[in-house]
């Protein structure tokens, strides 16, 4: 068990993070009492801690807590002063921000960026030509400069 702190003083299990790959170092306050614990987790494994740090200021609150020896009393996410809110959002690097590209690996234009101009036809229909010079003149310009610099390859 790597992602909880079981506070023996108040017999509360503090759940730290919903992800098993958590990398984090800092201080967490117990949801059941005023204890503050220092932990250092690498890929969800408790590398250091939990060490009690009496009187120090915590960095964050646990995300959820319960008391298994007390009828599983729950302290739900977002309880003021006890737990932090859980927004069901993964960390920013897992949020899938698309990586925009304008040129392929050999330096020629590819429509890997957004937004693109809307289609010209009825009901979303479009033709078979991407007139980059007309639709994206700034990328066309950049492409011409790449050609001049010799950054456009054949393979």
């Amino acid at each position: 068990m790597c992602d909880i702190i079981w506070c023996k003083d108040c017999d509360t299990v503090n759940y730290l993070d919903p992800y098993y790959f958590w990398n984090w170092e800092g201080k967490i306050k117990c949801a059941g009492c005023e204890n503050v614990y220092y932990i250092y987790m690498i890929q969800g494994h408790m590398y250091k801690g939990p060490d009690k740090k009496a009187g120090e200021k915590p960095d964050i609150l646990p995300v959820y807590a319960d008391k298994p020896n007390d009828g599983y009393e729950q302290i739900l996410p977002g309880t003021p002063g006890k737990t932090r809110p859980y927004n069901c959002l993964p960390r920013h690097i897992y949020l899938g921000k698309a990586d925009m590209v304008k040129f392929s690996a050999r330096g020629r234009p590819v429509r890997g960026w957004r937004p693109q101009p809307p289609s010209t036809g009825v009901a979303g229909s479009c033709g078979f030509t991407w007139d980059i010079q007309k639709l994206s003149p700034e990328v066309w310009q950049e492409y011409q400069e790449k050609i001049k610099k010799g950054e456009v390859g054949e393979w």
Binding site: G96, A123, C126
Partner: protein, 470 residues
């Protein structure tokens, strides 16, 4: 008197010297280069031109069965849900490899590269075909087409009055394909994914190393059973088209993905039938041949590359030396003649204990060498060895480049794309496969199909579009 048991090279047909080999080989090479001519596919006819196929499919498995037809020249019409398209469009590696645009109504959404290869050369229309208002358009498409591939749960199209039972009354020549997880039977409502196909067919149980060697049953990283099963559907479609030429009648093809994957089990099933033995995994080694497997070498070919796939993973090589002289040579190269003394016959070598000892000796020998050094040493000695190549090396491989296997496509809508697609499927001298475009935006051909082919007025198309029906 000649000893009949001795084979002399003079008695064999074919070249007798290196010079003769070159003399005989070159004209054939030239002939092949001329008739296959990679890059000139579009100057040649298309074998399936005149066939029109509908694709109401999703993901890889069933779409691929239609992409095969489209690459061979059939006119294929992909029917997608309005505004959304095939869910596979929204599946991209690392959520960041998209090509834009997807549709006018969603300017910030693209189509992910996961969609690649399964839908090449097709025309894209959108239609919510289970809405009664669109039934007529759907039926008219059926009347004008040779067949359809669909992938909905069994019986769904029947409920919507567009299964084979209904469509053959409209068009008796219609070939109808249902492709999905299980098909009729006790698991009729079970959906399937590639991984499920590999698992349910028993394929994953014989893939990977045995637990004794720290392995687990394994699925292939890519969706190989999707690609494979889709191609099997295409084979069935081509047979059905031939049957229709003879009888004038269509066919229903019902294609269970888990069933298709059982074919890859090879001798596992008859083995069980004969002895009651369940085949076990044997990882990168071979149960019938030794040495014939993949070994780990100690050093990377790219020690300074930042990409871990190059820095750490480019260390594997295939080694094959299973017949007696080759194995003897291999033992001499790695300085382990004792292995040759111990395992002089193939029967000795394929035993598990022998394989463990032999492959360990090989990897010990390779521990201070790079993959390239291992491959060069062995090939110089006349043994078969080959690096396990990665995508970068496949891209740079001269063999693939000369044969046009991997190439850059100037996609008419999306620009410069590196693809294999249809060019990965062998060469045809008269009617080669080709890739004209990788895909098109959702509904990109609505006007072409609804107006130009079916003759609906533009006002009707605009009305449908307003109502979200297309």
């Amino acid at each position: 008197m000649k000893d009949q048991r001795v084979t002399r090279i003079e008695d064999l047909p074919g070249p007798k010297s290196q010079g003769e080999l070159e003399e005989m080989k070159m004209p054939y090479e030239e002939y092949c280069r001329k008739v296959f001519a990679p890059g000139q596919e579009k100057t040649k006819p298309e074998s399936l031109k005149g066939i029109r196929w509908l694709s109401t499919t999703m993901y890889i498995f069933t779409p691929h069965s239609v992409a095969n037809l489209a690459e061979l020249g059939a006119e294929c019409i992909k029917v997608e849900m309005p505004r959304m398209g095939d869910p596979m469009r929204h599946t991209s590696p690392f959520n960041e490899c998209y090509l834009y645009p997807l549709h006018d109504s969603r300017p910030m959404t693209g189509t992910g590269l996961g969609f690649t290869n399964a839908n090449s050369n097709e025309y894209y229309i959108s239609m919510d075909y289970h809405v009664p208002e669109m039934k007529e358009a759907f039926y008219r498409l059926v009347k004008l087409s040779d067949g359809l591939t669909e992938c909905y749960r069994p019986g769904t199209f029947d409920r919507w009055k567009q299964s084979y039972r209904y469509l053959q009354e409209l068009n008796p020549r219609f070939i109808y394909v249902w492709g999905g997880g299980f098909g009729y039977g006790p698991k009729v409502f079970g959906g399937s994914y590639d991984i499920l196909g590999q698992a349910h067919a028993g394929l994953a149980s014989v893939t990977g190393f045995h637990e004794d060697f720290g392995g687990h049953c394994t699925k292939h990283s890519n969706w190989c059973i999707d690609w494979y099963s889709g191609t099997q559907i295409t084979v069935a479609i081509l047979a059905a088209l031939y049957w229709r030429r003879k009888t004038g009648l269509g066919t229903m093809i019902e294609f269970s993905q888990v069933q298709a994957a059982t074919r890859c089990l090879g001798y596992g099933v008859p083995l069980y039938g004969r002895f009651g033995i369940v085949r076990q995994r044997w990882g990168n080694w071979d149960t019938q041949l030794c040495v014939h497997g993949i070994i780990l070498c100690g050093k990377s070919d790219y020690p300074d590359e930042p990409n871990p796939q190059l820095k750490y993973e480019a260390r594997y090589a295939v080694v094959s030396a299973f017949n007696d002289p080759d194995f003897k040579e291999l033992c001499a190269i790695i300085g382990r003649n004792d292995l040759w003394d111990q395992y002089k016959t193939l029967q000795d070598r394929v035993r598990p204990q022998a394989q463990i000892a032999i492959y360990k000796a090989l990897e010990d020998w390779a521990a201070d060498k790079t993959r390239s050094q291992v491959v060069k040493t062995l090939t110089d000695a006349g043994l078969l060895a080959m690096p396990v190549m990665n995508d970068k090396e496949v891209y740079e491989c001269e063999h693939f480049r000369q044969r046009g296997t991997i190439r850059w496509l100037d996609d008419p809508v999306f620009g410069d794309l590196l693809i294999q697609s249809g060019y990965s499927c062998g060469l045809m001298s008269k009617t080669p496969r080709r890739v004209n475009w990788l895909w098109r935006p959702v509904g990109a051909d609505n006007v072409k199909i609804y107006h130009e082919m079916l003759g609906y007025p533009m006002s009707k198309i605009e009305e449908w579009y307003e109502k979200n029906l297309i």
